[in-house]
Symmetry: C2
């Protein structure tokens, strides 16, 4: 009979929580490769097959994220007699207050939790935070608790790169550091630790964008140049362990094209393996160096993009939406900091403006921080403390997004007036960037194709001036009443403009006075 | 025995010419749909299957473009006894001086003729020129003979749209205008005329980008809303007739997403039909209105893009290359003219600058002209005369391109310094656009990934100032000797700058003094 545990998993039987069944099984030979274990979880009209894994010390586990409430039954299937035909059941209860389920794609270009709550990505990056000292990891979590970020990019494998060359406390495989590994035997302690950290993020409301491969190894440990068989086994083990955690996203790679030993076909195979192995269909992406992968592949849920200039203005930011027709997340747009590299010395103002340019273009942006530090504790690699000025402003942006239309901010006139994002006829966010005008002519563009009737003469709007740097929202007195001025715009019937302070980083929030 | 004809096809048996075999066959029933005819053309180690077509008056034809020289044999296969098992042979001779074969994709983002000659696309657009009076068509050809264009977008079906509402002299199907058609019976005269015009373009060195479907009908003739069966039959007939013409490109649609009666799956089917039916693998693309198709589809050879702002600067122009990893042709970037529409009132300067921005970004651009005319003879729709000032400047650009590296102009530092195109270490074209500086600091960016050694200290370059509007190239005296100035640039060792005239529309051409 199944032994039901809730060891490290507090909300085990909530909807979208982790249900875990553990069993004692064979310890002889190599249990990681020689024992097959799957389980079928089912309700009356619905079933999911999940793969179990060996967790060391004779423990085999099967994890499952119930995506529907109510009673679930399961039965195992295994090559080991002790693990085969085990049955059990549990009740998936109502999710807790902060449990909205996994994030999914919504409205073609946006995201929402499984319960329908919009997810407006404000990402950050701490590639190797789980490979630092426990004290530093705890500090990272403390920093995150006070920061605006709801997604964090992090590597499974340790990272070795300029300013970040420490050995990690734990390694993913059995063997001897730095490079004598038995890739057929995983190190359960490494993955148990990783899982704890993913759950720590979950408690903070942060999605873990888990990076499965990366090039910052260069053969030091050799995790960037394992055999195809080892790569595939590793992916299946990771998915078996992590797929039941609702806040996991899969990132096949950081800078995939910088991994010299891999070809594009390898990443195609990885993507198909992960997509097929994951019973819970987590978000799945791949991040580029200089060469973009084909983000239209059906198993890629969104485009995870590095481009150091695409969000410098909304006219660029909007373009990859056209190409990929999926959510666009600019996961790497350079970092706020002072490194002697052009990818690591944005001013805070520039970092914040990139988020706004991406936002009005209907895309999402990621933050990173790279201020030099005497002990090389740089947020982007190690986590720790944030020193920059952008996070407070991103918290302001997050508040704005929380009050934006549920469907997500869409470009209104994508190629001609890309500074206007929103929902035609209801809500507009206009970002003025570096320009420092003293007045803004009130005008709204013709709605996009297919929404011709979204605005018409006589509609009334109210406006606020948002100072995105000083984090203020100031109401503009009075209403604006629409009057068409030609084929492409509506202005205010009384010709009113909006006075502005003559400073950069201003935005306008314009909302319909609903009848 | 096969009747070998060279009626309208002068260079019938040149390599990449059209070989045509004609046969008399059944005239009863519906020969268009009831008679199957194919032919297998073969050499010792190579064969191609082509489909024949009924050309009216009992004439059946099979056309073939020999892609290799030497003796070709063929044998027919038909459901009609008179057409079955016909055999013949011909010798494909050396191509004539102006015959470089069909245009293919080359170097991932560029084009070349089959004989290796680079093809640098300078496109234009006369959607309905073949549907005008004979005199007007002749005028169009005369205009083209003196214009710089080497590709022309044109619709098979007539066009009905603002400023262009005439009935055509010929219709593609049997029946009664405007909309009583028998789509199972084609009108051979219509297609014979179309073919003559495609050959006229071929003689002028112009590729015919043949648009197979378009929305500018709105049910008037109903060619935009035929049944799926009629669509597919039409495509197969067109491919059977036109595929042997080396200067044909297939454009599945203009503004595909504006065709209200079609779904995206229809265009997927069209693309697969054309790709499978075409034995000669002509370039194949699809052009968008507001929604881009998935240009990564394997049967699409390049991205044919409408975007009214993407080539306003090179930083935008370069982006779709990343996304599609195919040649990017900005076939519609607004038109030079004075229509009361924002897509039709570019100044000539703006039209020209879009070509240059696209060029340095490693892409190709299309022209169109929309000056109001008392009799609505607007180049973009009807052809006729050109009135604008951009074509002369595009001729200057074409001369520059003819002297550019064979491989095509590639972005040098695509996201950071998109104004630099060329071939790292050898050739640079730097476009300054609207800016009117009086001096340009000589500096060359670090070469792209994988070409780190393309430039080094001590290399010598010479520069010219190109006035892209006044069409002059002025040599800058003396050499520039490279010296690295930091991680991302090389400057002149003697700190020299290049004096500029303080006018807009300047470019720099910088060429290595080869050792």
């Amino acid at each position: 009979m199944a032994l039901l545990t809730a060891q490290l998993l507090a909300a085990a039987a909530e909807q979208w929580g982790v249900f875990e069944a553990s069993f004692k099984g064979p310890t002889t030979g190599n249990p990681f490769t020689e024992v097959r274990l799957t389980a079928r979880f089912y309700q009356d009209d619905f079933a999911r097959e999940v793969t179990g894994f060996y967790d060391g010390d004779g423990n085999y586990r099967v994890r499952f994220m119930p995506e529907r409430p109510g009673t679930w039954r399961f039965v195992t299937d295994s090559s080991a007699k002790e693990l085969d035909g085990k049955k059990g059941e549990f009740i998936a209860t109502k999710p807790g207050a902060n449990n909205h389920g996994p994030v999914r794609v919504a409205n073609e270009f946006h995201f929402a939790y499984a319960d329908g709550t919009p997810f407006r990505q404000i990402g950050t990056t701490c590639y190797a935070w789980t490979h630092q000292s426990v004290a530093l990891q705890e500090q990272t979590l403390k920093t995150l608790a006070g920061a605006p970020f709801n997604k964090l990019r992090m590597c499974i494998f340790p990272k070795r790169y300029n300013w970040s060359t420490n050995e990690p406390p734990l390694y993913p495989f059995a063997g001897t550091p730095p490079r004598d590994w038995d890739t057929t035997r995983f190190n359960p302690a490494f993955f148990q630790h990783l899982e704890r950290r993913i759950l720590d993020l979950q408690r903070l409301g942060i999605e873990a964008d888990v990076i499965l491969f990366h090039p910052y190894d260069e053969g030091h440990w050799g995790f960037d140049r394992m055999t195809a068989q080892a790569d595939d086994r590793y992916l299946r083990y990771v998915v078996a362990r992590l797929a039941a955690f609702r806040n996991v996203w899969w990132s096949l790679a950081n800078e995939w094209d910088f991994m010299k030993g891999k070809r594009e076909e390898d990443f195609e195979r990885y993507g198909q393996i992960v997509a097929a192995a994951d019973p819970h269909r987590h978000l799945l992406s791949i991040h580029n160096g200089k060469v973009m992968p084909n983000h239209t592949r059906p198993w890629l849920t969104h485009a995870s993009i590095q481009n150091g200039s695409a969000v410098e203005d909304a006219s660029r930011a909007v373009m990859y939406r056209d190409a990929f027709r999926k959510p666009v997340v600019y996961d790497e747009v350079k970092y706020e900091g002072n490194l002697p590299k052009r990818w690591g010395n944005l001013s805070a103002e520039e970092m914040v403006q990139r988020f706004w340019q991406g936002t009005v273009a209907g895309t999402y942006v990621g933050h990173g921080e790279t201020y030099l530090h005497p002990r090389n504790l740089i947020w982007w690699a190690t986590g720790g403390e944030l020193h920059g000025q952008s996070p407070a402003r991103l918290a302001f942006l997050r508040k704005v997004l929380d009050a934006a239309p549920t469907e997500g901010i869409e470009p209104i006139d994508k190629w001609q007036n890309p500074t206007y994002g929103g929902k035609a006829g209801h809500y507009y966010l206009v970002y003025l960037g570096k320009a420092a005008p003293t007045s803004w002519e009130f005008k709204l563009p013709k709605p996009p194709q297919g929404k011709a009737n979204a605005i018409e003469d006589g509609m009334k709007f109210r406006a606020e001036v948002l100072d995105t740097w000083n984090m203020t929202a100031t109401s503009v007195p009075g209403d604006f009443t629409l009057k068409r001025t030609g084929e492409y715009f509506w202005a205010d019937a009384n010709g009113r403009s909006i006075p502005l302070p003559g400073k950069p980083w201003q935005a306008l929030r314009i909302r319909r006075v609903e009848p």
